[in-house]
C-alpha cells in the first residue's frame, strides 16, 4: 500500500514540534525509534499519527527508554536507511552514552532536541542545559529560534548528516515550549519539493547489504582510538562547515530562506552586541532596534550552528564591536559559561579589543524580558564608553534574591 501525500497550505500555523514532525514526514524517514518526553513528545506523536493515517511508510518503534531509542536508531542507521528521533532534557541525559557511540560509529541520525532544563530540581521548561551537556559528543548541532526554523533545519540536518563525506549525526535544537508549543505561521514546501531537497537515502556500509558484510562498533585501545577520534574531529573541522554552507545555499535557492552559521542582526555598525541562542535571539533583536532609537548602536549575533562551533565566523562577526555580552542559558557549574568561553577563545588571538561579559539567564524556563535586555545593552554601552568592563565578568539576570555576580 503506497502512502498518501499531504496537501499543505503555503503557510500553515504550526508549533515547533508539529513543524519538526512534518519535516520528518516529508523526509520520509525510514525508522523513528523514540520514547516520549516533555516537551518533545509532540514530534513523535505527530509521526505516529502520520503513520496511523498512512502518510508515512517508515517504521515507528516506540521503545522503553531514551537510551533504547537511540540504540534502536543506531542499529537502524547501521542497517542502512534514514533515521530520526526526538527527545529533551532527562531523556537526552539517559541517551548520552549512545550519542557518543552514534557519532563514533559515523552514523547519520537526526535528533530533534527540544531544549529543557536538567534536574534537580525537576523542571519541564526550556533552557539550554541539555544542548550544552552533549556539546562534545561529536554531533553536529543546529539551533532553531522559531517553528519555521525547526521545520527548515530538519531538512538541512538530513542533507548534511547523510552526506557520504560527513556521516555524522545531527541535532536540531529548539526551545522547549517557547518554540515547541508556540504556534506560528510556517512557510511550507510541498511533499515532492521537500523530499527532493533531502533526496533518496544513499546507503553506505549498510548491514543489510548481504554481499558486503560489515563490522560496526569495533574495539580500539591506545593503538587506534586516538586516530579514530582525531579523524572524526578533523572531518568536523574541515568538511562539515563547508557542507553546511552548501546545504544552506541550496535551501536558500529552493525557498528563499537564508541561513548562516552565525546570524548577524544589525551588526554592520554595532558598538555593542549580545550573542545568544534560541528564542532569545528574537527578543534581543527587538530590543536592539529599540536601543538604536535611543542612540545606542546595538546588534545581535545568533549562533545557528553550535557544533562545529563557528570559531572564525564569530571572531569576524565581533571584531569591530566594542562591548559584547555572551548569554548562556545553562547553569555553568563553576565556569563563566560555554558561549562566554567559546567567544573569548575565538577573539583571544585577534587584534580585537572587544570587552566581553557573560550573563546567565532563563534557567528552568525563567523569562528573559525586554527590560533585562535594555539593562544589559545599557551596561554594554557603559563598558564601551569606559573602555573596560565595569561590572563583574559573570552576572546572573532574572534570578530572585541578592545580585549574583562573579569574577
Amino acid at each position: 500500500m503506497a502512502f498518501d501525500k499531504m496537501e499543505l497550505k503555503d503557510i500553515e500555523v504550526w508549533d515547533g514540534n508539529y513543524a519538526a514532525a512534518q519535516a520528518l514526514r516529508q523526509s520520509q524517514v525510514d525508522v523513528v525509534s523514540a520514547y516520549p518526553i516533555t516537551p518533545s513528545t509532540g514530534i513523535v506523536e505527530g509521526f505516529a499519527k502520520f503513520k496511523a493515517d498512512n502518510y508515512v511508510e517508515g517504521e515507528f518503534v516506540m521503545v522503553e527508554s531514551e537510551h533504547a531509542a537511540m540504540s534502536g536508531c543506531i542499529g537502524a542507521a547501521a542497517a542502512g536507511g534514514r533515521v530520526a528521533t526526538a527527545t529533551a532534557s532527562q531523556g537526552l541525559a539517559l541517551m548520552s552514552e549512545t550519542l557518543y557511540q552514534a557519532s563514533g560509529m559515523r552514523l547519520p541520525i537526526v535528533l530533534n532536541l527540544v531544549n529543557r532544563a536538567l534536574a534537580a530540581p525537576l523542571n519541564v521548561n526550556g533552557d539550554h542545559s541539555d544542548m550544552y551537556m552533549v556539546r562534545d559528543s561529536g554531533w553536529i548541532q543546529f539551533d532553531a529560534y522559531n517553528p519555521q526554523e525547526a521545520y527548515d533545519l530538519n531538512f538541512i540536518a538530513f542533507k548534511v548528516s547523510e552526506d557520504h563525506d560527513v556521516r555524522l549525526p545531527a541535532i536540531v535544537n529548539q526551545d522547549g515550549f517557547m518554540t515547541s508549543h508556540t504556534a506560528q505561521g510556517v512557510h511550507t514546501m510541498d511533499d515532492d519539493t521537500a523530499f527532493g531537497f533531502v533526496g533518496e537515502y544513499k546507503p553506505m556500509n549498510d548491514m543489510l547489504d548481504f554481499e558486503h558484510p560489515v563490522t560496526h562498533g569495533v574495539q580500539t585501545e591506545e593503538d587506534w582510538h586516538f586516530e579514530h577520534k582525531a579523524r572524526q574531529h578533523n572531518d568536523m573541522m574541515t568538511i562539515v562547515p563547508g557542507k553546511i554552507d552548501e546545504a544552506f545555499a541550496a535551501f536558500e535557492k529552493l525557498t528563499g530562506r537564508k541561513y548562516n552559521q552565525v546570524e548577524k542582526y544589525d551588526m554592520d555598525d554595532a558598538d555593542v552586541a549580545v550573542v545568544c541562542m534560541g528564542t532569545s535571539v528574537e527578543t534581543a533583536r527587538e530590543v536592539a532596534l529599540e536601543m538604536r532609537e535611543k542612540g545606542i548602536k546595538a546588534g545581535v549575533v545568533g549562533i545557528r550552528v553550535f557544533r562545529p562551533f563557528p570559531f572564525m565566523a564569530i571572531a569576524d562577526a565581533l571584531k569591530d564591536v566594542k562591548a559584547v555580552a555572551a548569554l548562556d542559558r545553562s547553569a555553568p557549574g563553576g565556569t563563566p559559561g560555554a558561549l562566554f568561553n567559546e567567544i573569548a577563545g575565538a577573539l583571544y588571538n585577534t587584534d580585537s579589543k572587544m570587552l566581553l561579559s557573560g550573563y546567565i539567564y532563563g534557567l528552568g524556563g525563567r523569562d528573559l524580558t525586554k527590560k533585562h535586555l535594555v539593562d544589559l545593552f545599557t551596561e554594554l554601552q557603559a563598558n564601551a564608553d569606559a573602555g573596560k568592563v565595569l561590572t563583574k565578568q559573570q552576572q546572573f539576570i532574572g534570578v530572585r534574591g541578592p545580585k549574583l555576580a562573579y569574577l
Binding site: 540504540s71 542499529g75 537502524a76 543489510l208 548481504f210
Partner: protein
C-alpha cells in the same frame, strides 16, 4: 522463502562454512565460540548480528580485524538487543518501500550477550525487545559471571560461587543469592519461543535454534557457557563441564512455547549428583569444607525441586 538447513551429523555440522572465524581472542576452552558457531551454522540464511560489550565482543572485533563474516554491530554493554531490533525495523521499512538491495533474501536477526549484559545491565532493553516482539533472536552466553572484567558476580551467579565481588573467605561462602530465573521471566513476556540450550547437546541445540529461526517474532535462548577462567577448570574439560551441567540437571534443557507450553527436551539417562558438578570447578572448592557442606545438600535439593517443577509444568501444559 527461507529453507531449513539439513544437518546430518556432527562432522558435517562442525565443518560448515564459518561466518564466525576461528581467528579470535577468546580463551582456549571458552564455550562462547562453540555456542556461536552452533547458532550461526544452524542456518544458511543471511545474518544480521549484534553483540553486547563482553568477552565475545572484545575478542572478535579488535580493529583492524574482525572474526565476523556476516554483518555485525556492537554499540554498548546494555543494548545489543536493541541494536538488532533497530536493524530489524529498518529491514521491515526497506522491504515495505522496495529498497532492499537483495529483496529475495530472508535474513535472521540475532543478538548475543553475556549474562552480565542480559540478566543485569541490559535486562530492560531485552524485555523491551521481547515485549515488542521484534522478529529476532536473543542469545545469552550464560557463564554466570562478569568474565570480561575479571570475575565479578552477576545476578546469574549461583549460590556458593566465589566471585571477585562475592569472594569466599574466612566468614563467607561466596555468592549468597539465587540465580535469577531468566527463562521464566522472558517466557512471561508471552514470546513465541524461549529455550535453554547447551553446546554439548548439539542436536537439541540446533533443533531449538532452527525452531527459533523459523519462528516469526521474538525468541529468547539461554545457553550455558562454562568459563574455564572463572569457573576454574582445565580448558580441555569444557565439554566435560557442560555434560556435568546438563546431566546433573543444574542446567535442564527445555523450551517454552507462547509463554506456557513447556517441553523438557533432554532427560539424562544417568542423573549425575550435583556434588560432582560442583567438585569439578574451583569456584565451588570452599563448599567442600565441613562448615559449608550443608550448602551442597541444599544445592541438590534446589536442583531436584526445579526439575520436579519443570516436569509438573510440562505435564500440566501451563
Amino acid at each position: 522463502m527461507s529453507e531449513m538447513k539439513k544437518i546430518k551429523n556432527l562432522k558435517e555440522f562442525s565443518t560448515s562454512a564459518d561466518r564466525f572465524e576461528g581467528a579470535n581472542l577468546l580463551c582456549p576452552g571458552c564455550a562462547h565460540s562453540i555456542i556461536v558457531r552452533e547458532v550461526l551454522n544452524a542456518t544458511n540464511d543471511d545474518l544480521v548480528l549484534a553483540a553486547s560489550t563482553g568477552c565475545l565482543e572484545v575478542c572478535t572485533a579488535v580493529y583492524p580485524y574482525t572474526s565476523w563474516d556476516a554483518s555485525w554491530i556492537h554499540i554498548g554493554f546494555e543494548n545489543g538487543s536493541t541494536a538488532v531490533a533497530g536493524a530489524e525495523a529498518m529491514y521491515k521499512a526497506l522491504k515495505t518501500k522496495g529498497r532492499l538491495k537483495q529483496p529475495d533474501r530472508t535474513p535472521k536477526f540475532v543478538a548475543f550477550g553475556g549474562d552480565g549484559a542480559s540478566y543485569d545491565i541490559g535486562f530492560q532493553w531485552i524485555s523491551g525487545c521481547m515485549e515488542r516482539n521484534h522478529d529476532m533472536m536473543y542469545v545469552v552466553l550464560d557463564n554466570e559471571v562478569y568474565a570480561n572484567t575479571g570475575g565479578q558476580r552477576s545476578s546469574s551467579t549461583p549460590i556458593g560461587a566465589s566471585a571477585t565481588t562475592t569472594p569466599a573467605g574466612k566468614i563467607s561462602y561466596g555468592e549468597t543469592k539465587n540465580k535469577k530465573d531468566m527463562m521464566g521471566i522472558m517466557a512471561a513476556h508471552n514470546i513465541p519461543y524461549a529455550a535453554q540450550v547447551a553446546p554439548n547437546k548439539w542436536k537439541d541445540m540446533v533443533k531449538k535454534i532452527q525452531k527459533g529461526f523459523a519462528t516469526e517474532g521474538a525468541v529468547f535462548i539461554n545457553a550455558v557457557s562454562p568459563c574455564t577462567t572463572e569457573w576454574k577448570f582445565d580448558p580441555k574439560d569444557t565439554m566435560h563441564l557442560t555434560d556435568l551441567a546438563t546431566d546433573s540437571l543444574v542446567f535442564p534443557l527445555y523450551e517454552i512455547i507462547d509463554g506456557h507450553e513447556l517441553n523438557i527436551t533432554y532427560r539424562p539417562k544417568n542423573i549425575v549428583p550435583v556434588e560432582e558438578y560442583l567438585a569439578a570447578q574451583g569456584r565451588f572448592r570452599h563448599l567442600f569444607k565441613d562448615q559449608y557442606k550443608y550448602l551442597i545438600k541444599e544445592w541438590q535439593e534446589r536442583v531436584d525441586a526445579n526439575w520436579a517443577y519443570l516436569n509438573r509444568r510440562e505435564e500440566a501444559r501451563v
